[in-house]
């Protein structure tokens, strides 16, 4: 099939040009592959920026007492680490993957709205720069936590001049991701190869379709909430100001109405990538394709009706606590279906353990652990003890680092050879995996103990009984942080030529049975699927056909 495509591209050589020359190419590009690359590289850079902030946090917490930074700056670091990682690293990285992969996987020539695609990337850059600029302002960057809760965030002593910049940054990031989401939905609905029905789509495409709807539904709500903060601060409205009849608890409700779907915005594409990679290395079709699709939809729906489990301690009637408790536990059902399906896909498969697969297996195990601690905190009376301690920090880092981040790494190893035409260095890849997988547990597992023992989150200093586990956690953090430099090296090395081994079109054995992109030449030409493929691989949906 690849031969057909190559011939086809030559045939159309006169109405398609290659990339523009020089730096301008990256600024004016509307090519989905270029924009995908921009998103991914930007996210990688932000991963290191946010990671450096985490290193500052772990260095300060290495020993009790104040060593390196003053408490206000420490609080800025926890706030900015979260904002940069969520809005600058994880979300853009998945948008980058979507840009590269969705058109390739559904047989589309490009994204549906290529110019808007370019604009949404550059708005992301503007938003993140605006946020980063607050670090250099009088009074420092926002330091009231990434949730921006009033009244804390409205008090002049804690925010300095940063609040309006943080708010406008959120607006830009929100508009950028809404545009990205609209583009993805339009691409999936309108640009699919005619041969591909919705239930033929790879799981990655499915999960992104559902994620895009979540983004459109909740990013505007968050934009509204921060706008209310802004008008409360500068225009004497009283949405959250108690003196004027407002209520700070209202903000928590609005924020978490956004915030809970937001955490699924970061995890659903993760599920999609895992469901794409595991079958290739298990050399089996994905187990339970249709149930995967339905489970994704169910998780997305449930994410809208469980938000108050983030605020059990704020004061709710008993019926409310019970409702949010049981609704939250319900999420374990579709999530359990997914974990079961991944395991069943590997069951009796002819598995091989290249780096992408190793990251996926670690994801299945460690994400499940993060899910279990989530279930513990869903129990309202128990949550009163865990609330705002390191237990919640351990929980959500388990669902984000060895889940979203590991899967993004897996995606990098899995698709880089396809994108660049070069093979990465498997030895260094495996070293990166083992260092990451071991150190991430040294880093986050002790935080469960700290939380259960009562250490609060977001503090620069702590009581001496927490010293030992904090030191171990910090050591794990430093190893984890340093190990990621290996990934940076591998990405650069692979782009420059990697091992020098020329990869085949399908890169991984029989990958072309699973998804369309492996039928294209490696490296992927600048323009692909100018005519849609006549037939699509259905290996991944085998048991539903």
């Amino acid at each position: 099939m690849s031969a057909v495509v190559a011939e086809h591209d030559e045939h159309h050589a006169d109405d398609h040009h290659g990339p523009a020359k020089g730096l301008l190419r990256w600024i004016i590009t509307t090519n989905h592959k270029d924009i995908g690359t921009l998103y991914l590289l930007f996210a990688l850079a932000m991963f290191f920026v946010g990671g450096s902030m985490a290193m500052v946090i772990r260095a300060e917490l290495f020993e009790p007492g104040l060593q390196f930074v003053d408490p206000a700056f420490f609080n800025s670091m926890t706030t900015m680490h979260a904002l940069v990682m969520v809005f600058g690293a994880v979300m853009p990285a998945f948008v980058g993957l979507a840009n590269w992969q969705i058109p390739l996987m559904i047989g589309a020539a490009d994204m549906a709205l290529p110019r808007m695609n370019n604009m949404s990337f550059w708005m992301l850059v503007a938003g993140v720069l605006l946020l980063a600029s607050t670090l250099f302002m009088e009074g420092g960057a926002p330091n009231g936590g990434w949730t921006l809760y009033p009244p804390l965030v409205l008090q002049p002593i804690t925010v300095g001049k940063a609040l309006p910049f943080a708010v406008f940054s959120v607006h830009l990031l929100g508009i950028s991701s809404i545009m990205g989401a609209i583009n993805i939905i339009a691409t999936i609905f309108n640009m699919r190869a005619p041969a591909m029905k919705l239930m033929d789509m790879p799981l990655f495409v499915w999960t992104w379709l559902i994620t895009a709807f979540l983004l459109i539904a909740v990013m505007p709500v968050f934009a509204g909430a921060v706008t209310m903060l802004l008008t409360d601060k500068f225009f004497h409205t009283s949405f959250f100001n108690a003196a004027g009849g407002g209520d700070p608890v209202l903000y928590e409700h609005i924020f978490w109405f956004f915030g809970h779907p937001e955490v699924y915005i970061m995890i659903l594409p993760t599920f999609g990538v895992a469901s794409t990679i595991i079958p290739v290395f298990a050399r089996k079709p994905l187990f339970g394709y249709a149930s995967m699709v339905w489970a994704t939809g169910a998780i997305a729906f449930l994410s809208f009706i469980v938000w108050a489990h983030h605020m059990f301690t704020v004061g709710m009637p008993l019926a409310g606590e019970l409702y949010f408790m049981y609704a939250t536990m319900l999420i374990a059902v579709p999530t359990g279906v997914k974990v079961f399906n991944w395991t069943a896909t590997m069951w009796k498969g002819a598995m091989s353990f290249e780096t992408p697969m190793l990251f996926c297996i670690a994801f299945v195990v460690l994400f499940t652990m993060g899910g279990f601690t989530g279930l513990m905190m869903a129990i309202a009376p128990v949550d009163f003890q865990y609330h705002d301690t390191y237990f919640i920090v351990a929980h959500f880092h388990y669902t984000l680092v060895p889940a979203s981040i590991f899967i993004l790494m897996a995606a990098g190893y899995f698709w880089l050879p396809k994108w660049t035409g070069h093979m990465y260095n498997e030895k260094i890849g495996q070293l990166h995996f083992w260092l990451s997988a071991i150190s991430v547990n040294i880093l986050f597992f002790p935080q469960h103990f700290l939380g259960l023992a009562g250490m609060p989150r977001r503090i620069p200093d702590y009581a001496v009984q927490f010293a030992d586990w904090n030191m171990i956690s910090s050591i794990g953090g430093f190893i984890f942080g340093a190990s990621q430099l290996l990934f940076l090296y591998i990405v650069i090395d692979t782009i420059k030529g990697g091992t020098g081994e020329k990869v085949t079109d399908e890169v991984w054995e029989d990958a072309s049975k699973h998804s369309l992109e492996w039928t294209l030449p490696s490296p992927v030409p600048y323009h692909t699927w100018t005519t849609p493929p006549a037939m699509v691989p259905t290996e991944h949906v085998l048991d539903t056909h």
């Binding site: 020539a109 490009d110 549906a112 709205l113 808007m116 008090q155 002049p156 002593i157 809404i178 989401a181 609209i182 583009n183 939905i185 339009a186 609905f189 309108n190 640009m191 459109i216 539904a217 909740v218 990013m219 505007p220 709500v221 968050f222 934009a223 509204g224 909430a225 209310m228 004497h236 949405f239 100001n241 108690a242 003196a243 004027g244 009849g245 209520d247 608890v249 209202l250 409700h253 609005i254 109405f257 004061g315 709710m316 009637p317 019926a319 409310g320």
Partner: protein, 180 residues
């Protein structure tokens, strides 16, 4: 991409953009919705009951029962005042009327308009704590350096469920001068 496909894409994008705009509006609609949910007691909130003036009804005094009322006085971060209650706590019988004095003093040389916001813990007890007279019913104007003694007259409704032995009532003074 041919022209009809481009049109289809733009049409879909417009529809989705409308959804996004509607969701922005929905964020604001959550504000009145929140008040409604509070009224239906889906969300526990003490303020509407706490700043309502109750009529002075005669209740049967329950001498067998004692409830401890604790008073907390706080100043919002930028309020230049002195503010405290005459006593930290008071043991009361449900059904009997009591008066507690609060003292507030403007420390500045300017007129200050301030508002005291009450809060109850546990929040549900606010329904049974009936205030006949309170400085929190309206904004208070203080002349420069003016000190005021402000009585707060209340009764604990005998219907207060048995399990509540202590009610904590907290007042926070907010400087509202600039918001006038």
């Amino acid at each position: 991409m041919n022209e009809t496909a481009a049109k289809k894409n733009i049409k879909l994008a417009r529809t989705l953009l409308l959804v996004a705009v509607a969701m922005f509006g929905f964020g604001y609609a959550l504000v009145p919705l929140y008040d409604v949910l509070c009224e239906w007691k889906w969300i526990e909130r003490d303020r509407p009951d706490a700043i309502k003036k109750a009529p002075e009804l005669a209740y049967k005094v329950d001498l067998n029962r004692e409830v401890t009322i604790e008073f907390i006085t706080t100043l919002n971060e930028s309020t230049p005042m002195e503010f405290h209650a005459e006593k930290k706590q008071l043991k009361v019988h449900p059904g009997e009327y009591y008066t507690v004095n609060f003292y507030a003093e403007n420390k500045t040389n300017k007129v200050m308009i301030a508002r005291a916001i009450p809060s109850f813990s546990p929040a549900v007890t606010s329904r049974y704590f009936e205030k006949i007279e309170c400085f929190c019913f309206s904004e208070q104007t203080f002349n420069a350096k003016e000190a005021k003694t402000m009585p707060m007259r209340f009764v604990v409704n005998p219907e207060l469920p048995e399990q509540y032995k202590t009610i904590t009532l907290s007042y926070t003074f907010f400087d509202n001068t600039e918001n006038q």
